[in-house]
């Protein structure tokens, strides 16, 4: 049994970075921590690897308490955001370095390195040095070095975030396909929600002090516990509109500012909101739930409002449109094949049953 278990972990400098964190990553589980830069994701990995010492709390792998073990005695392997390859050694020697440290014989080292290199499709590069290979290849070399270490826990720090889109897609697939990772506990940190949703068996969203929500990809994206979680997952970011709830009982209406922006609250939401007797909320509308209607198109079950195009950019995967809708700037996701001009009138269909309502002060999701 090699599950990773963290209990009451604390670490801080001038202020607490990790405050009483509890987390269990099961054997074979791929757990992704996602959060903004500087929030403490790398600190968490460094605590587990033993590169930082905990102020309080306990870290165990299987039945072994490793809290006070030096780094080299911990059965973990970590890849660093900067790869940390030895520049003067070949790709082969870089991958082989943990095996040399364990004094394996030459034949066993050659066999293991070759196998891992084949898996990562870098077998043709084994004689090169880090300075002679691309970023994606360096990343795979660093990953290879981690894999051969045969640890009980993998710690991966932003391994693909800073690579080209094409390589990121390919490496994500490799993480999905690597059986090695499915045998041990893996903790993977990133600031990129796409990586988190794609790879995580479970995802932990990190905020001030620790994990503010843990769940599956659909849990954290479709049922965010707070505005912080909703704002952090999604590109373009969720539309967050300060609004008032007006009306009685289940006939609730959203109104924003002094503008004409508003829509009726669907019955299921109204029932939940009425219980709290809340007037001021932040309405969260995902750009994918704002549909830009074509001429003559209607959208049953949606609330249609008029707007004018402020910004439109077609990107590589989709188009992003920002419209002024009754004084509120709304971002919508479209097909990249659409085209719009500045100030063009558009009709926007809001999927009001997919809207979130957050507490105006605390940011808590009022529908949960």
């Amino acid at each position: 049994m090699a599950r990773l278990r963290i209990e009451g972990l604390c670490k801080g400098w001038d202020f607490p970075v990790i405050d009483n964190l509890d987390l269990t990553v099961e054997e074979g589980e791929f757990f992704v921590v996602v959060g903004p830069s500087g929030i403490g994701k790398t600190t968490l990995l460094r605590l587990i690897a033993g590169l930082e010492s905990a102020d309080a709390g306990r870290i165990a792998i299987g039945d072994h308490d490793i809290t006070n073990l030096p780094p080299y005695k911990r059965p973990v392997a970590m890849t660093f955001e900067s790869y940390a390859l030895y520049p003067h050694l070949s790709v082969f020697e870089n991958i082989a370095s943990p095996l040399r440290a364990r004094r394996l014989d030459a034949a066993a080292i050659r066999a293991t390195v070759t196998e891992v290199a084949k898996l990562l499709r870098i077998e043709a590069l084994l004689d090169r040095r880090p300075g002679e290979i691309s970023g994606g290849q360096k990343q795979r070399t660093a990953l290879g070095r981690t894999l051969v270490a045969k640890p009980q826990v993998f710690l991966l720090d932003e391994p693909i975030s800073h690579l080209d889109a094409k390589i990121r897609h390919d490496l994500r697939l490799q993480f999905h396909a690597l059986e090695e990772l499915r045998r041990v506990a893996t903790l993977y940190v990133t600031h990129d929600y796409v990586e988190a949703l794609s790879l995580g068996d479970r995802i932990g969203v990190m905020g001030r002090g620790g994990l503010v929500q843990i769940g599956s990809a659909r849990d954290v994206f479709l049922r965010p516990r707070s505005l912080f979680v909703a704002e952090h997952l999604g590109q373009p970011a969720i539309n967050a509109v300060a609004a008032r709830l007006t009306g009685e009982g289940t006939a609730l209406h959203v109104r924003a500012g002094n503008s004409g922006f508003g829509f009726p609250v669907v019955a299921a939401h109204a029932a939940a909101l009425a219980r709290g007797d809340i007037q001021r909320v932040t309405v969260g509308i995902r750009p994918q739930h704002v549909k830009v209607l074509r001429n003559g198109e209607d959208a049953p079950g949606h609330h249609v409002i008029d707007g004018r195009v402020e910004i439109y950019e077609a990107l590589g995967a989709n188009g992003v449109l920002v419209a002024d809708a009754g004084g509120v700037n709304l971002t919508a996701l479209t097909s990249p094949e659409r085209d719009f001009t500045h100030r063009q009138p558009v009709r926007l269909a809001l999927q009001t049953d997919a809207v979130f309502y957050f507490h105006a002060e605390s940011g808590d999701n009022l529908l949960l």
């Binding site: 903004p36 830069s37 691309s134 970023g135 800073h162 080209d164 889109a165 094409k166 897609h169 994500r172 697939l173 999905h176 396909a177 600031h191 990129d192 929600y193 796409v194 949703l197 794609s198 990809a217 659909r218 994206f221 704002e231 952090h232 997952l233 999604g234 590109q235 373009p236 970011a237 995902r286 750009p287 994918q288 910004i311 950019e313 077609a314 990107l315 590589g316 995967a317 989709n318 992003v320 920002v322 996701l333 097909s335 990249p336």
Partner: protein
Amino acid sequence: MASIRLAQVNKIYRSRGHAVHAVKDLDLTVEDGEFVAILGPSGCGKTSTLRMIVGLEEITSGDIFFDDRRVNDLDPQARNVAMAFETYALYPSFTIEENLSFPLEVRGVPAAERRKKVHDLAALLRIEDILGQKPAALSGGQQQRVSLGRALIRDPAVFILDEVMSHIDAHLKLQMLFELKRIHQELGKTMIYVTHDQVEALALADRVAVMSHAALQQVGTRNELYHEPVNVFVADFIGEPPTNFFPAELDAGDDQPFLRAKNAALTFAVPVERARRLAAGGRRDYVVGLRPQNLHLDGAESGAAPAGGMLTAEVAINEYVGERTILTLVADGHRFRAQAHAETSFGRGERVCLRYASSDVMVFDAETEALIA
């Protein structure tokens, strides 16, 4: 204000008997007031190009003109170029206003004029309310704006940005990019942005110059690069997920020619006119390119069904990424991707049908990798 013209510019680095050709015969014009992005993978020559424009790197051969003036031999100061880096060094003990004002003070600009310039720029960058604060008190986004301000305050003729957004968190990036674009539109300055990230390039620039292996591949608007990529590299680099490619050959067919994936039963319909031209061209080997966005799950709405074809495949990986689902599929030994609605959810091994319009099938020459129109 200035236009920039690079004519047959080359950069060759020599060290210890080795010569590395970093930039090859580059021709590129950036119009006065235009925003151009130079996009390419690491090592493609984009940074060398930028350093030659700024004057930090000697030009091995060729010429660079600002308007009609040849600037090859001018030092960086004389070119009146400002360059913004990802992180700008701000003086920690100075307020933001003092930080912005300092370069003007050094040049002897009178106090009243300095104040006016700083406040005008602060209004443009929307940082008026933080002018009295020290750098340490700012958020990442505010620091970014102040950094831009530091570069803009000197009122340069040309403004160059080197990957300034690459470490901004994904969820803030698009907003910051649109903000930078607005600033460009209000200033109307000539700007060049260098990046390896297509989202940044496409969101910002009027035109994007795609580089690979030291050479310019194509310059164009987003739609030109996306719909008419000149070669396999551009088709692969622009678009996300990347384009699917299938080595293919022409099959004469019973009534009209079509393309067939090599060593596989996959076939691709191409528009009649193009099929005839391919058949008349006498070429043998092709590469078919099909974007993940243009493969539609059977049953998904796509308006009136245009002429096209269908692929049957097995789902290998179903990646839910929030706004959409990316399917990795396998058909007869070929692996490819399709972009589907977020609600899509298939198990490994499930069989799916994907439709495509024949007008979305891109065909490249397998040998030269050039697009066949």
